[in-house]
């Protein structure tokens, strides 16, 4: 019990030191832009189709669920607004994060872990290059930027999915579906969605780069790193979701009062 607790504290402490080192690298060295773009391209392309598909179905599901609820109040006109607002504020960012953790998180920790155990990271350092600048930072930045782009794609597809089901399932017109999106999806809800997306991406990127970078012990070690990444990311995301919801709520109510 005590040992387990100590292991967690060690892990978190190690992670924070790692992040500190990364941010200090970010301050002193320019990340190599060609590597960053390479990574953004990879991450985005990798997850684009799944994100689009998932976005489409999330919009569809939300529309069906909301239809069942708002029909009796005769508020079908608000369907599009409700579904879209739910997607951008909560489901979208969370969905993107889970999607990326399965694809990019696992991939990154396995890749970095393998580079670590085959001494490629040492080789980078030995050649006078900075592994944080060459390897970690580009992946980190790419995960964060890509997640915003993917959120936009997912959102767009969810509107498309919702629209289709709105017409087919709920029997409203496209114009009715879209009409209340701008009234319900307000600036604060967009900001809180983006904020969540950012926080989730930070959590995800930090965990997979840290776990990969600190891998020890051969092929088994890489396996362990990937599993540890998956577990820590899930826990981290749920906690981050809770915390960001509280923060967003506080900000929203402050904005209301002002």
């Amino acid at each position: 019990m005590i040992a387990g607790f100590r292991a967690i504290v060690d892990d978190v402490g190690g992670g924070l030191l790692f992040l500190g080192q990364m941010f200090s690298t970010a301050l002193h060295y320019r990340p190599k832009s060609h590597v960053v773009f390479d990574q953004i391209w990879k991450v985005t392309l990798n997850s684009l189709s799944t994100t689009a598909l998932a976005g489409f179905f999330v919009g569809a599901i939300m529309t069906v669920q909301f239809t069942l609820q708002v029909k009796e109040f005769g508020a079908l006109g608000y369907l599009g607004g409700l579904a879209t607002s739910g997607t951008i504020r909560e489901v979208g960012p969370l969905l993107i994060a889970f999607m990326l953790s399965g694809k990019v998180g696992a991939f990154t920790s396995a890749e970095l872990g393998t580079m670590r155990v085959t001494e490629q990271i040492d080789a980078v350092r030995c050649l006078g290059a900075n592994p944080f600048q060459e390897i970690i930072l580009p992946r980190y930045i790419a995960i964060i930027l890509s997640s915003f782009f993917l959120l936009a794609v997912g959102l767009f597809m969810s509107i498309a999915g919702g629209l289709l089901l709105g017409v087919v399932f709920s029997g409203i017109t496209a114009e009715e579906y879209l009409r209340h999106i701008p009234t319900i999806v307000t600036l604060p809800s967009i900001v809180s969605g983006l904020f969540k997306c950012l926080v989730f991406a930070l959590v995800l990127a930090s965990i997979c780069t840290y776990k990969g970078f600190t891998t020890t012990g051969g092929a088994k070690g890489v396996g362990r790193a990937v599993v540890a990444t998956a577990v820590a990311t899930m826990v981290g995301l749920v906690i981050a979701d809770f915390v960001t919801t509280l923060i967003a709520e506080a900000i929203l109510s402050m904005a209301m009062q002002a």
Binding site: H28, K32, T118, E119, Q120, D122, A123, R125, C126, L127, G128, A129, N130, E134
Partner: protein, 257 residues
């Protein structure tokens, strides 16, 4: 005293609790070809990684050209490391880059050389180690000996003053081994660099022609040149260089591996 290019000053090192090196001190002068020998698992690779700044001593200091790797930080440290090239025991090639790009990596990322110069350098170094024909293959598509050669080419790409070779002839046939050591000698003469090489094969250590040191029992015993090493009084050295089964080294890694 201050003229040594590489100096270990009372270095101790351990992984966890078990001490691996205790109070190691020795110097390597500029321009030397220094061989490290010793039974498997006694810490040769660790000594080399301490030189390269990849491991930090638990006590003592490693000095390169009079500057301590232990206390140096940031860009100064990277500049010092740039002056060293290293061939890793397991090569540590960048497996997502082609053979050519492996050589180009330090030039492109560290030196930020123009592309024309990089193309030329790839040509030159791959030619020098005799694997130019494999330029566009990936490291796992070439043979073990070719991987070693690529590791050497990459280590040399920044024209380092100090080149560290960890077991450059491991797993190679006798003829290829000989050729690789000859290559190391030639490259050293061409660039006037200082070479430290680990080998488990006494003939290769003799071929290299410089001083020899043995890593054993947590210490580094500098045995001297070919003749001095052959006549060395330490029974562990005598046993090792003659490859005898009986002797003080019997219980160590030599037997178990």
């Amino acid at each position: 005293m201050a003229s040594a290019l590489i100096e270990f000053r009372n270095v101790a090192f351990s992984f966890g609790d078990e001490p691996l090196l205790r109070d190691v001190s020795f110097q390597i002068q500029k321009g030397e070809a220094f061989s490290l020998i010793g039974p498997s698992g006694q810490g040769k690779s660790v000594v080399m990684k301490l030189m390269a700044g990849l491991l930090t001593p638990t006590a003592g200091e490693v000095l390169i050209d009079g500057r301590s790797l232990v206390t140096l930080r940031g860009k100064d440290r990277e500049q010092l490391l740039c002056r060293m090239g290293m061939l890793f025991q397991k090569n540590a090639l960048f497996d997502s880059l082609t053979v050519g790009e492996n050589v180009a990596f330090p030039l492109r990322e560290v030196r930020q050389a123009p592309e024309a110069e990089i193309t030329e350098a790839i040509q030159f170094y791959l030619e020098a180690v005799g694997i130019l024909h494999a330029k566009d293959l990936f490291p796992d598509e070439i043979s073990g000996g070719m991987q070693k050669r690529l590791g050497i080419a990459r280590a040399l790409a920044l024209k380092p003053e100090i080149v560290l070779y960890d077991d450059p002839t491991a797993g190679l046939d006798p003829i290829t081994s000989r050729k690789i050591i000859q290559l190391i000698i030639d490259l050293r003469q061409e660039y006037g660099s200082t070479v430290v090489a680990i080998t488990n094969d006494m003939n290769r250590a003799y071929q290299l022609g410089g001083r020899i040191a043995m890593v054993v029992d947590g210490g580094v015993i500098v045995t001297g040149d070919h003749d001095q090493t052959l006549a060395h009084p330490d029974p562990r050295v005598r046993q090792f260089i003659r490859g005898q089964l009986e002797g003080p080294l019997a219980g160590s890694g030599t037997v178990t591996t």
